[in-house]
C-alpha cells in the first residue's frame, strides 16, 4: 500500500511596513488611527530613552546588572499595544518596553534594576507578573494563568514572553503542550533577538523557524518581522482575539543591538558586519519614515517629545534613588506569618546592629 502523508505544515511570515517605511496597505491593521500610530511611536522612543538612561546609570554604578532592550522596541510596543487592560502580561526579563506601555510606574522599574525586590511589588491593577530570570521558567506560569482565566470565565488572555534561547528549554515545550491540551487562552511571544548571550540562533536549534515549535503541540503559529511594529501589533491583536479558541505562538524576528546584559561584551562573540546589517532595519527609523511621509510627525515634535520624556525619566530615577531599603521586610515576606526561626534571625541581626555596620562599609 502507498505511504500516506499523515500531516503537513507550513509557517507564514508577516511584514506590513518594510525597512524603508513602505506600507502594504492591504495588510494594515483595521481601525488603527494615525493618533495610535503616533502614540506607538512615542512609546518606542520612550523605551529607547529609558534603556539608554538605565545603561548609563549602570555604568555609573547606580544600577545593578541590566539587560538592555535596544533594537527590540517594535516587538515590545507592538505586542503591548495590542493587549487589553484585562489581559495578563507575563514577562521574562527584557520586556521593559511592554512594561512601559502597560503603565508600570517607571520608578519601580529603576528600583527593580537597582536591585530591590520593592521594585517588583507590583500594583494588582497592572495585570502583570514580575520579571522572571531563570530562562523559560515563566512559560508554565503563563499556561497556568491562561487555564485560570478560562476556569474563572474571564474575557482575557495570558501573554507570555520568551527569547530564542528559551525555546530550547523543557519548560517551553511542556507549557505549550499543556496549553494546547487545555485550549487555554495563551499567546506566547518568542522574542527572537538572534542571540542567547553568546550563542547565535543558528546554534540554538536546527529548526528552520522557532514558530514551528508550536506545531508539535498542536498550536497555531506565525512568524513576524519583529522590527515592524505594525506586523507585531496585528499578529498579537489577532492572536488575542482568537485566544478563546486556544493558544498561539508568535515568533518576532528582531535583533539585540546591544549586549545580553551589562556583564558581557558582544564584540567578543559576534561580527560587526552583522550588527551593521541590522542597524539598517531599525524598528524606530522605519515607523518615523512612515509617519513623516504621511505628515503625522516632524522634527519639532520629535524634539519636544524627547525633552518631555527625558524629564519624565529623570523624575522616576530621582524617586527610585530616594528609596531606602528596610531589611526587616526581607524577613517579613518569606511566609504569610513569620516563623520562629526567622523571627529569631531578625532579632539577632537587629540587636547586633549588623545592618548599621553594613551601611557604613
Amino acid at each position: 500500500m502507498p505511504i500516506e502523508e499523515v500531516y503537513n505544515c507550513s509557517v507564514k511570515r508577516l511584514q506590513i511596513l518594510d525597512e524603508n517605511g513602505n506600507l502594504d496597505e492591504a495588510l494594515f491593521p483595521e481601525g488603527l488611527s494615525g493618533d495610535s500610530l503616533v502614540e506607538m511611536y512615542k512609546y518606542m522612543l520612550l523605551a529607547r530613552a529609558v534603556d539608554a538612561k538605565a545603561l548609563s546609570l549602570q555604568r555609573q554604578g547606580r544600577l545593578a546588572t541590566y539587560a538592555p532592550l535596544i533594537g527590540e522596541e517594535a516587538t515590545h510596543i507592538g505586542t503591548a499595544y495590542a493587549m487589553r487592560k484585562q489581559d495578563i502580561f507575563i514577562p521574562a526579563f527584557r520586556q521593559h518596553g511592554v512594561q512601559i506601555v502597560r503603565g508600570l510606574p517607571l520608578d519601580l522599574f529603576f528600583l527593580y534594576w537597582r536591585g530591590f525586590e520593592d521594585g517588583a511589588k507590583l500594583p494588582a491593577s497592572l495585570n502583570q507578573t514580575p520579571v522572571i530570570v531563570p530562562v523559560g521558567t515563566q512559560l508554565p506560569h503563563g499556561a497556568g494563568i491562561a487555564f485560570a482565566l478560562k476556569y474563572l470565565k474571564k474575557d482575557a488572555a495570558a501573554i507570555v514572553y520568551i527569547g530564542d534561547g528559551g525555546t530550547s528549554e523543557g519548560d517551553f515545550y511542556e507549557a505549550l503542550n499543556f496549553a494546547g491540551v487545555w485550549k487555554a487562552p495563551l499567546v506566547c511571544i518568542i522574542e527572537n533577538n538572534q542571540w542567547a548571550i553568546s550563542v547565535p540562533r543558528s546554534a540554538q536549534t536546527a529548526a528552520e523557524t522557532l514558530a514551528q515549535k508550536a506545531i508539535a503541540a498542536g498550536i497555531n503559529c506565525i512568524q513576524v518581522d519583529g522590527n515592524d511594529v505594525l506586523a507585531v501589533y496585528k499578529a498579537t491583536r489577532d492572536a488575542i482575539q482568537n485566544s478563546k479558541d486556544g493558544p498561539m505562538v508568535i515568533e518576532c524576528v528582531t535583533y539585540r543591538m546591544s549586549m545580553h546584559t551589562t556583564s558581557d561584551d558582544p564584540e567578543k562573540y559576534r561580527p560587526d558586519a552583522e550588527v551593521e546589517k541590522w542597524e539598517k532595519k531599525d524598528p524606530i527609523d522605519r515607523i518615523r519614515k512612515y509617519l513623516t511621509k504621511n505628515g503625522l510627525w516632524n522634527d519639532s515634535l520629535e524634539q519636544k517629545t524627547k525633552d518631555e520624556q527625558a524629564k519624565f525619566i529623570d523624575q522616576a530615577v530621582e524617586k527610585a534613588e530616594q528609596f531606602k531599603p528596610d531589611p526587616k521586610t526581607m524577613f517579613e515576606n518569606v511566609y504569610g506569618t513569620i516563623t520562629q526561626t526567622l523571627e529569631e534571625e531578625l532579632s539577632d541581626a537587629m540587636s547586633a546592629n549588623f545592618w548599621q555596620e553594613s551601611e557604613d562599609d
Binding site: 507590583l122 531563570p134 521558567t137 508554565p140 499556561a143 476556569y151 491540551v181 504569610g336 526561626t341 529569631e344
Partner: protein, 321 residues
C-alpha cells in the same frame, strides 16, 4: 469515621473541593484512575474533569502551571506521582513557589498544596522510595509537612489547603494503609509548625516524624523505657520551642528519620539543640537514620531503612551514657 491515611486524605480533599470552588486537583492519573495509590479515588466523578484533572506527563509543568493558577487566586493542589520524579519540578518549586512572595514583597502569594508520596518500605522500584524532605526544607519559602497518622493527615492537609503559602505535603506510602483510626467526619485543622507529643516520658527524648513514628513507638514499647516522643508533623517551619522543651525534659536526645543521615533534618535539629540547649543535655545527641547513600533497590531495602532493632540499639547507647 474509621479510615486509613488514604481515606483520610481523600476525605480532606473532598472537603476542600466542596468548600472552595477555586481549588483544583491536577496530576498524572489522578482522575479516572484515582491516582496510583487511589488517594483521589472518586473525586473526578464527583467534581468533574475541570476540577480533578489528568495532566500530560510533565512534572515541571504540573508545578509551573499550578503556580500560574495560584497567581490568579486559585488554590491548585497538584500531585506528583512519586517524590523521586519531583526533581524535574525542583526549579519551579525552589526558584518560583518559594520565592514569589519575597520577590514581590507579598504583592503575590502562592496558595498551592503539592502532594507527593515519599519514603520506602513497600518494595517499590528504584526512584519510588525516597525521603527528600530536607531538599525542600533547606531553601526557605516552602512549608514542608509530613503526617504520620490518618488523623494528622486530614487535619494538616485541610490547614495546608487553607493557607496562602506553598506547602509540600509529603505522604509516606508505607503509612497509607498501615493502620486505621477513628477520625471526625467534619473538617478540622491541625496547625502548621506545631509538633506533637506522641508519648510522654522521662528517660529520653526521641524526635521523629513520618514513617519512623510507629517504628519508634514499637522500639520504646519493646525496650520498656519511658520516652518523650515528639512527632514534628511540620519539617519547615520547625517547632523549635517544642523541640527545646522535649529535649530539656530528659536531657537525652535521639533523632530518628528514614532519610539519609548526612545533611538531613536530624542535622538541623541537632545543631539547633547544640546552639540553644547544649548545657541541658547530659549525653551526645544520637541520630538514627538511613545511611548516607541513594535509596537502594527493593531487594536491599531492609538493610537500609531504620527498623525497631536499630532504634533499640540507639536507645541502649543513649541510656548507657
Amino acid at each position: 469515621m474509621q479510615v486509613n491515611m488514604v481515606g483520610a486524605i481523600n476525605n480532606a480533599l473532598d472537603i476542600i473541593l466542596r468548600e472552595n470552588d477555586k481549588a483544583v486537583l491536577l496530576g498524572e492519573d489522578i482522575g479516572k484512575d484515582g491516582g496510583v495509590f487511589r488517594v483521589t479515588d472518586g473525586l473526578q466523578a464527583k467534581y468533574g474533569e475541570n476540577r480533578v484533572m489528568d495532566t500530560p506527563l510533565a512534572e515541571s509543568a504540573i508545578i509551573g502551571t499550578s503556580i500560574g493558577m495560584a497567581l490568579m487566586g486559585m488554590h491548585p493542589i497538584p500531585e506528583i506521582q512519586f517524590a523521586g520524579f519531583m526533581y524535574l519540578a525542583y526549579d519551579q518549586l525552589v526558584s518560583h513557589a518559594a520565592r514569589y512572595r519575597t520577590r514581590t514583597r507579598s504583592a503575590f502569594q502562592i496558595p498551592m498544596t503539592v502532594r507527593t508520596p515519599v519514603s520506602g518500605g513497600v518494595k517499590a522500584l528504584e526512584h519510588h522510595s525516597e525521603s527528600p524532605e530536607a531538599l525542600y526544607a533547606h531553601p526557605g519559602g516552602l512549608i514542608v509537612i509530613e503526617p504520620s497518622t490518618p488523623y494528622d493527615a486530614k487535619g494538616l492537609l485541610i490547614k495546608a489547603c487553607r493557607t496562602n503559602d506553598p506547602v509540600l505535603f509529603l505522604e509516606p506510602t508505607r503509612l497509607y494503609r498501615l493502620f486505621k483510626q477513628d477520625i471526625p467526619e467534619d473538617a478540622y485543622e491541625i496547625p502548621i509548625g506545631k509538633a506533637n507529643v506522641v508519648e510522654e516520658g522521662s528517660d529520653l527524648t526521641i524526635i521523629t516524624y513520618g514513617t519512623m513514628v510507629t517504628v519508634v513507638k514499637d522500639a520504646v514499647a519493646k525496650k520498656n523505657v519511658s520516652a518523650e516522643i515528639l512527632d514534628l508533623r511540620t519539617i519547615n517551619p520547625l517547632d523549635t520551642e517544642a523541640i527545646l522543651a522535649a529535649a530539656k525534659k530528659t536531657g537525652k536526645v535521639m533523632i530518628v528519620h528514614e532519610a539519609e543521615k548526612s545533611f538531613g533534618v536530624g542535622a538541623e535539629v541537632a545543631a539547633m539543640l547544640a546552639e540553644k540547649a547544649l548545657y541541658n543535655l547530659d549525653a551526645p545527641i544520637i541520630r538514627v537514620a538511613g545511611p548516607s547513600m541513594p535509596y537502594p533497590f527493593p531487594g536491599y531495602e531492609k538493610y537500609y531503612t531504620p527498623n525497631v532493632a536499630k532504634v533499640v540499639q540507639g536507645i541502649e547507647k543513649l541510656l548507657s551514657q
